[in-house]
Symmetry: C2
Subunit: 197 residues, 2 copies
């Protein structure tokens, strides 16, 4: 079991509806030592790749993506949700179905910030159905840039997003893959994660 899986077992809370609450250490209160460790691990896993930009979507992935960008010594770019003010100029746009499938969220990135020569590492805190990551991939594609890898802290392995992205041929690294979780007992079962010592 790696450091993130241990932390999830210790501090995450399983809720009804396939919800895993990690708000005490990852996406509301943020343990900066843990996020630094996550960033170092992503850097180790993608270290052989000549990444020029780290790309995420506001807002819960920003802290992790910032720390990863620091590791690579490259800029961070975060796509904005359409409610954000002050976006002008030429933009790329992707529409992402929400978790509940009831609405669609529009995400936007300024064209100036993704160039065709960019080699992009996409980072996010969670991967479930994969729609957010697919939206980010489509923004990179629209720019004519290349996705050289995707890293997520926590993948819900019992949802289809991870398999879908891997089947498209992308190099996806998830630091903790949850194959099952039970809100009644709080039990969390991790996938045997060969990528981590």
């Amino acid at each position: 079991m790696n450091f993130l899986e241990e932390r999830i077992l210790s501090d995450a809370v399983v809720k009804d509806g396939a919800v895993l609450k990690v708000d005490s250490f990852l996406n509301h209160q943020v343990d900066t030592d843990l996020v630094e460790q996550i960033a170092q691990e992503f850097h180790r896993r993608f270290a052989h790749k000549p990444i020029t930009k780290v790309f995420t979507i506001e807002s819960s992935g920003i802290a992790i993506a910032y720390a990863v960008a620091r590791q690579f010594g490259v800029p961070l770019v975060f796509a904005k949700k359409s409610g954000s003010v002050n976006l002008d100029g030429e933009t790329y746009i992707a529409d992402i179905p929400s978790f509940t499938h009831k609405v669609t969220n529009r995400v936007i990135v300024g064209k100036r910030f993704l160039q065709s020569e960019d080699r992009v590492l996409i980072i996010d805190d969670f991967l479930a159905n994969g729609y957010a990551l697919q939206g980010l991939i489509s923004l990179v594609d629209a720019a004519g840039a290349q996705v050289w890898g995707l890293g997520v802290a926590i993948e819900k392995g019992f949802q289809e997003g991870g398999d879908r992205i891997r089947n498209l041929g992308y190099h996806l690294e998830s630091l903790a893959i949850i194959d099952a979780m039970d809100p009644a007992t709080g039990t969390i079962t991790f996938r045997n994660n060969g990528g981590t010592k």
Copy 2:
């Protein structure tokens, strides 16, 4: 002129309606070296204070606030806008008028993440009318915790927010205070900033 003022002169764009675009280096694309320098400067200015938590609001302040929290070795907490999913449990709530005054944005923080013994440093990227910072202050007050300082990267000194917060007795540090800017010529005038060498 300090490093941030120099960067603003070099890369920021003045738009009509008192809008300063810093999206190429601060709040859409993020220059991680610059943000690290900003964080080190905030740490220097508040170093004598026994801060236990850095507090910001999603999402454009998160990268800076994360870097500051790393400097202090304390957790980052970011308040969420009310559209965010997955907030349950007891929360503190503040209502913040938007920049256009047409709507009110609700911001929320879990009660577990602000304790009465916390000594809080509030960080944000921008200060204009000050409503966002005042909302964050009210959340800290609601928790019975103490605001030990506020740090913003860029203050629009020609709007009333900074004076209002200083008049309330808070220790506010702004790394760059803009006293005037002219969209026709692109001219930006900084306040003589005694806090910076």
